[in-house]
């Protein structure tokens, strides 16, 4: 249904002819009713990708296609109409709501901009309906953001995104700013809305455990590229890319009865995206890199059914999980 095809985004660096390579040819597909999780650390390009999917950013090259329509080529009224189909929920419900506007008028504004509802009365009942969908009683319409808890504010963020009947929600770190016990409530709400409304989600997060909880398929990004893609089970429980494996090992598990690595599973830091390494982007930090990795960018290859990996070594070690990373 939704396709990102070979998206590239380069930002020029001021006073120089260099570019920050935020995205280097990212292709993804999202089906009806599916949740695609995108996991990666800061600077991997996941938020740039999100913004491009809702056209808050223009790609340097590549296209975004929704039901066969190239969204990157649209303008004016047609763009506005198509834009309704893909809506975004932001990370921080504190900064994405206007503190001086009531919840009701914040949602009403979206309806007006997209010319939903013919009269104020009609819009008012739509606002009440939307708040009901996210589990907030109608009286919240007259409240200001500061009167709400973090979880309630994020519910408002979701209601606002749902206002124009979208088919796809781009969820950019929707629970990262929330307290642990509130995360559960928002995660459960997202699951429930998806089955009720048949929504498709792109769930972007740095939190492997939340991505594992909600995703059907998972894409792992590292320094402007997708390095692994497949079913949540394959990618997160039996990863083939050494970065995915290291990332998974780096997440502390809330269970003191199991032995957890005491040494770092991924050494070093992410390189500067204006000066990416030659060859595989991950090779300077990779425990199993060989000469080939320092010379050539690995192809993105399908090494199991629907399981794609960009790693020279993974293809070689096909069939064996990347636990081959011995530290």
């Amino acid at each position: 249904m939704l396709q990102a095809i070979d998206l590239v985004k380069h930002y020029p660096v001021r006073h120089s002819d260099a570019f920050v390579r935020a995205l280097e040819g990212v292709s993804l597909e999202l089906s009806e009713g599916e949740t695609l999780g995108i996991v990666g650390e800061s600077g991997c390009g996941k938020s740039t990708l999100a913004k491009m999917l809702v056209r808050l950013e223009e790609p340097t090259s590549g296209t975004v296609v929704l039901d066969g329509v190239d969204l990157t080529a649209l303008h004016g009224a047609e763009l506005r109409r198509q834009r309704r189909s893909i809506q975004m929920v932001f990370q921080d419900p504190y900064s994405s709501l206007n503190p001086r506007k009531t919840i009701g008028s914040t949602i009403d504004e979206v309806l007006r901009v997209h010319r939903f509802g013919r009269s104020a009365v009609e819009r008012e009942s739509r606002v009440a309906e939307l708040l009901g969908m996210v589990g907030l009683a109608g009286q919240y319409a007259s409240r200001l953001p500061h009167e709400l808890s973090g979880g309630q504010r994020q519910r408002v963020g979701v209601a606002r995104a749902l206002a124009v009947d979208p088919r796809v929600l781009i969820l950019d770190e929707p629970v990262s700013a929330l307290d642990v016990s509130v995360r559960a409530e928002v995660m459960n709400l997202l699951g429930q809305l998806q089955s009720q409304l048949g929504l498709s989600y792109i769930f972007i997060s740095h939190d492997v455990s939340m991505v594992r909880q909600i995703s059907d398929r998972v894409a792992v990004m590292y320094l402007s590229r997708v390095v692994e893609l497949g079913s949540w089970k394959n990618v997160l429980d039996a990863p083939m890319h050494p970065y995915t494996d290291g990332l998974r090992g780096a997440v502390p598990v809330p269970d003191p009865t199991i032995t957890q690595p005491v040494v770092a599973t991924v050494r070093g830091e992410v390189p500067d995206p204006a000066k990416p390494p030659v060859g595989c982007n991950f090779h300077p930090r990779c425990p199993i890199a060989v000469d080939l990795c320092r010379e050539r960018v690995p192809d993105f290859q399908e090494i199991g059914v629907g399981h794609w990996v960009a790693c020279h070594r993974a293809a070689e070690e096909q069939g064996r999980p990347a636990a081959l990373v011995s530290l």
């Binding site: 650390e41 800061s42 808890s149 973090g150 979880g151 307290d179 642990v180 016990s181 509130v182 995360r183 559960a184 409530e185 995660m187 459960n188 699951g191 740095h206 492997v208 455990s209 939340m210 594992r212 909880q213 089970k233 290291g246 990332l247 090992g249 780096a250 997440v251 502390p252 598990v253 809330p254 269970d255 003191p256 009865t257 957890q260 690595p261 005491v262 040494v263 770092a264 599973t265 991924v266 050494r267 830091e269 992410v270």
Partner: protein, 339 residues
């Protein structure tokens, strides 16, 4: 500082209470109408030498305020209104400002969440580490030498060059390493780390956690970690203190806390986390309601309104009492819990 009687405990906190100071501009009458808003309600805590303790709780639970109060760093808005903090047997309230300033840094090191709040953006990072030592009376040559050593020790590459960098030239992880170098420069007996890795990526978090764990072994430091991340706690600490609504609700060895939580809040909090090895991915357990607001006057147990186990007795405030190898503030033991 005159050392008092040496006990087994490095740090002893007794019935510590912290309240919000009413604004000064208010009239006498207005101030009377706004009695002290108490936000930390009587913390009792003893920390043994060499222990690693995790302080967990959600925003507003009082965990950071407790740490600031221990250090006498509450600022103008908050005030310790009761209780006592003893460090090596000395009552910290009895120290002059100059004495406590000597103690911070030399005996108690601190690392905060955002390294930029601890670093001067206009000063070379090496000089900032060096200054900590100069302020505490170490000779220049010695301080220079130790700065280079510390940089190497905390894993900052090429110290001869990088000590001359400014904070903005460093990544978040590298800045936090500088702050750790500053905190450890004088080999403190106690390290207080308030969410030291929350702002960092997980692979960098793991490197920093490994580094602090190593240094702790090397220096035999006592450490207190303040965090909301139960994964970090499980991986790192020996004992966990859980705070809720300005109180300690449970305090137990890490295994006991995770395996047989004694407080319904601890139990619900653990249940709200996704199990990374469960293929069924069931709905996450939610905790209905919300925590008490800062300064909200709750009678009885502060978790009562959200608690599935609440009984009539919970209208009285439960004392923190010994249970198993830990302590818990709850009237209803797990044997009597409804599932």
């Amino acid at each position: 500082m005159t050392p008092g009687v040496e006990s087994d405990y490095l740090l002893e906190v007794e019935d510590m209470r912290v309240a919000v100071e009413p604004p000064r501009s208010r009239s006498q009458r207005a101030r009377a109408k706004h009695p002290n808003l108490e936000i930390v309600h009587g913390i009792d805590l003893k920390v043994r030498r060499g222990e690693t303790i995790g302080f967990v709780g959600e925003s507003g639970s009082g965990k950071s305020v407790t740490m600031l109060a221990i250090l006498r760093l509450l600022g103008d808005q908050l005030r310790m209104v009761g209780g006592r903090v003893q460090f090596r047997g000395t009552d910290l309230a009895s120290l002059a400002e100059s004495e406590i300033r000597q103690l911070r840094g030399r005996d108690i090191g601190m690392v905060y969440q955002d390294p930029m709040t601890s670093l001067n953006p206009l000063m070379r990072v090496g000089n900032q580490v060096r200054e900590v030592m100069l302020v505490h009376g170490i000779q220049r040559d010695e301080a220079d030498r130790r700065t280079l050593e510390l940089f190497a020790r905390v894993g900052i590459p090429d110290p001869a060059r990088t000590t001359r960098c400014y904070p903005h030239e460093f990544s978040g992880g590298m800045r936090q390493r500088v702050v750790i170098a500053m905190a450890l420069a004088l080999k403190p007996a106690l390290l207080l780390a308030d969410e030291p890795t929350t702002a960092l990526d997980v692979t960098i978090q793991q490197q920093i956690l490994a580094l602090i764990a190593e240094l702790k072994e090397e220096l035999g430091m006592t450490t207190i970690w303040v965090t909301h991340d139960l994964g970090v706690v499980a991986r790192l600490v020996e004992r966990v203190v859980v705070m809720y609504g300005g109180n300690i609700v449970e305090d137990a060895p890490v295994r006991q806390l995770f395996v047989t939580p004694q407080h319904p809040y601890t139990q619900r909090l653990l249940a709200s986390l996704p199990n990374p090895r469960d293929d069924e991915r069931p709905l996450l357990a939610q905790i209905p309601g919300r925590p008490p607001l800062t300064g909200e006057n709750v009678t009885g147990c502060s978790f009562r309104s959200r608690c599935l186990q609440a009984k009539d007795v919970c209208q009285m405030e439960p004392p923190l009492t010994a249970r198993g190898a830990g302590r818990v503030a709850c009237w209803v033991p797990p044997e009597e819990w409804r599932s």
